[in-house]
């Protein structure tokens, strides 16, 4: 297996605070690698070290088996979480500047700019100054500027933050085309489950600077997230704990969790188990205010692993 990037015992301390704790990762060539974690989990800190913008306290990063400090500039392209743009330049000027900085030959640069503007639906705004673009357009330009030099590894830090559904769709398609058509390695951080689920080949779940699990989305769901989820809101939420104790006694229930005041029950073939569950509810002496059954998602896996919902 060929690896684009290897992260060995990566650690970052800020005084007593450990932002990233001995992270070990191997990112394969040509995969979309998802970094999933709540805000403040250490995703951005890890990413900044992985691209060479931040010095790690200890550990090392290899790009194509070469130490990051020795790697020729331009192998990595990073699209930061914030909009990092020159407000007074036009889209085309911004892309041209970045192309020049990466020493992209003139003719190739011209073609690439046109292609990027087309792929990211910015053609009409090519000569509009950045300050006059909408939020979504700025996001797309932010991305275009990261890939103008066709880097081997594209790092996207929360790329769909603040995007409308339409722009998000454009972005997702583009990320897929980076992998499928251009064979790029894409590293993606996100706190959006559906984004990680639908884009990533593999997902690393990280919280408090620690790697909790690394696998494909399917395996993650299968391993931790078998079955369906019954979400139940009781008329008296104070009885949640009492009911959960009773439910845990049942063999056919895989797991019971309290999330945001509601009781989440995971079980195989949940519909068939409903009568047994109802018995317990009545036994505790409460009514059901709301109830729904859905398939297990990555979010459930996430909650199971981190013990919390996503921190905003």
């Amino acid at each position: 297996m060929e690896y684009s990037m290897e992260v060995k015992n990566l650690r970052k301390n800020y005084g007593d605070f450990v932002a990233v704790k001995d992270l070990n990762l191997k990112i394969r060539k040509g995969e979309v690698f998802g970094f999933l974690g709540p805000n403040g989990a250490g995703k951005t800190t890890s990413i900044r070290m992985m691209v060479g913008l931040l010095k790690p306290t200890s550990g090392e990063i290899l790009i194509n088996e070469e130490k990051i400090d020795d790697v020729e500039r331009g192998k990595i392209g990073i699209c930061p979480q914030e909009l990092v743009l020159w407000e007074n330049l036009t889209c085309r000027e911004s892309l041209k500047l970045m192309g020049d900085m990466y020493e992209v030959p003139k003719d190739a640069l011209k073609q690439r700019i046109n292609k990027l503007l087309k792929d990211l639906f910015l053609e009409e705004k090519a000569n509009t100054t950045v300050s006059n673009l909408s939020g979504g357009m700025k996001r797309r330009l932010n991305l275009a500027m990261a890939v103008i030099h066709e880097p081997e590894v594209v790092v996207l830090d929360e790329p769909s933050e603040g995007l409308d559904p339409q722009s998000r769709r454009v972005l997702w398609n583009y990320i897929k085309s980076l992998r499928d058509d251009e064979g790029k390695t894409v590293i993606l951080t996100t706190h959006l489950m559906d984004e990680a689920d639908s884009l990533s080949d593999r997902i690393a779940i990280i919280d408090h600077g620690e790697l909790l699990r690394l696998d494909t989305p399917e395996n993650l769901k299968k391993e931790i997230g078998e079955g369906d989820v019954v979400e139940m809101v009781l008329s008296d939420p104070e009885k949640n704990q009492e009911l959960m104790v009773e439910l845990e006694k049942l063999d056919e229930i895989i797991a019971v969790l309290e999330v945001d005041g509601q009781v989440n029950i995971r079980a195989m073939n949940a519909v068939a188990k409903l009568p047994r569950i109802m018995e317990q509810v009545e036994g505790v002496g409460v009514h059901i205010a709301d109830l729904s059954i859905r398939q297990n998602t990555l979010e459930d896996v996430f909650i199971e692993l981190t013990g919390t919902g996503l921190r905003e």
Binding site: V51, G52, L53, G74, L89, D100, M101, E103
Partner: protein, 442 residues
């Protein structure tokens, strides 16, 4: 040629940020205008001084002609008529008024000085004339003296001949001794009074000798001798180059803010990830600011001329001034880099910049000459403590070419020094900025 791309980017950003550009170019212009109007007239020899005259004189009869005269009115009209030598400009703007009103005008500085002619002024003058007639046997004095106090007196003491009375007329020149305008006006007035007294004596003597005739009143008592071409200079002529240097120094603040903005918005990180070198960024961003410095020199110079700067040189001196300004501008860019190496955000960069550049302007003597503090001798020139700052040499060179119209020979030492000091400062700036901003964050 990545630095050219950076330069072109910075020029576009600079030109498209109209408000920022407006501030950068107009703020120093505003200073130039204020200083121009405040100091434009000061020190200039042929400007009328505003004087309020309060005349209490009751008049008297001149004994030998039997004419009734009011010498107070006569003195007032003399003051009104007197002109500068070889010039049509009157020495004084006279306002005849009451003492109460004159005091008010004085307090508002609408007039530079107030002259109070006493009621016995004519009597004293008549006594002087009588005394002159008997000059062979007696002495008479009219003293015009200026004291360091706020009052100046003209005394006429008659002590012999026809009358035995001692008549003393005291003309008061009242004003604010701390006010520069009063100092000048009072000096000239004292001279004029002395001349007036002398003229009376001469006229009487002429009449006795049978050569009556009006002698024109001309009372230039002092003559300022200056360098050729500087006779018409005002304080502003010395201040204007200082204003240009002040503007150039202020550029450091703009440079620091613009570099810090690049850090804060994260665009610098984008550039850091690319193949750009420190040189590309710092040399590239210096180009537009150098152009701004050149523009500053030309614009401010034009404004200065428009509001009364006495330009001595030729078109060559402007070219020299622009070159000197550019070198000074590069020093400011270096200073801006040093500030940007430490400032955490744009606001801090601006504040820190102002905190450094304004006192620096005083140190290099942009507003007034500081006391000389010679620390040694270098290449036959006295080396002042302020000479370690490149802008001191920028200012000296600008003053030479713009105020005195000197050529390259006169400024070669100053330019040489400013190039050397600028190079040192630039190296420090590049080193500090690269170290703190262009390496991987710790």
């Amino acid at each position: 040629m990545k630095f050219l791309s950076i330069a072109s980017k910075d020029i576009k950003e600079l030109l498209r940020d109209r408000r920022g550009l407006f501030f950068i170019l107009l703020f120093p212009m505003f200073f130039m205008l204020v200083f121009g109007f405040a100091f434009g007239g000061m020190g200039q020899s042929n400007t009328p001084h505003s004087i309020a005259v309060v005349n209490y004189d009751e008049g008297a009869t001149v004994t030998y002609t039997n004419q009734t005269m009011n010498f107070g009115n006569n003195l007032t009209s003399v003051l009104e008529d007197v002109k500068y030598q070889n010039s049509d400009v009157h020495m004084f703007n006279i306002t005849k008024t009451t003492e109460e009103n004159a005091d008010k005008l004085l307090k508002q500085r609408d007039v530079d000085a107030e002259v109070i002619i006493p009621k016995d002024f004519s009597k004293a003058s008549v006594a002087l004339i009588a005394n002159t007639l008997q000059s062979s046997t007696s002495q008479s004095t009219i003293q015009a003296s200026s004291q360091s106090s706020s009052q100046s007196t003209l005394q006429s003491t008659q002590s012999a001949g026809v009358s035995t009375d001692n008549i003393t007329a005291k003309v008061i020149i009242r004003g604010d001794t701390g006010y520069m305008g009063f100092g000048t006006a009072q000096g000239i007035l004292t001279g004029v009074f002395q001349g007036y007294e002398d003229d009376i004596v001469i006229e009487v003597q002429n009449r006795i000798q049978g050569t009556p005739g009006a002698k024109p009143h001309q009372f230039i008592q002092t003559e300022v001798e200056g360098m050729p071409g500087t006779e018409a200079f005002t304080s502003f002529d010395f201040l204007a180059p200082g204003m240009i240097v002040f503007a150039i120094l202020l550029l450091a603040t703009s440079v620091a803010a613009s570099l810090t903005r690049e850090v804060n918005t994260g665009t610098l990180e984008r550039l850091k990830m690319s193949k750009m070198k420190s040189f590309d960024l710092l040399f590239g961003s210096s180009i537009p600011w150098t152009l701004v410095a050149a523009a500053q020199v030309v614009i401010l110079f034009a404004v200065a001329i428009a509001i009364g700067f006495h330009w001595q040189g030729s078109i060559n001196s402007i070219i020299l001034a622009v070159i000197v300004g550019i070198i000074g501008g590069i020093s400011s860019i270096a200073l801006g880099m040093i500030i940007a190496a430490f400032a955490k955000n744009e606001r801090q960069a601006s504040n820190l910049g102002t905190l450094i550049t304004v006192p620096m302007s005083f140190l290099v003597g942009a507003f007034f000459q500081l006391p000389q503090v010679t620390v040694g001798n270098f290449m036959g020139q006295n080396f002042q403590i302020y000479d370690v700052l490149p802008w001191t040499h920028t200012l000296n060179a600008l003053r030479s070419v713009l105020t005195y119209g000197s050529g390259w020979d006169a400024i070669s030492y100053q330019v040489g020094m400013s190039v050397v000091l600028t190079a040192i400062l630039f190296v420090i700036g590049v080193f500090l900025f690269s170290k703190t901003r262009l390496r991987a964050e710790k």
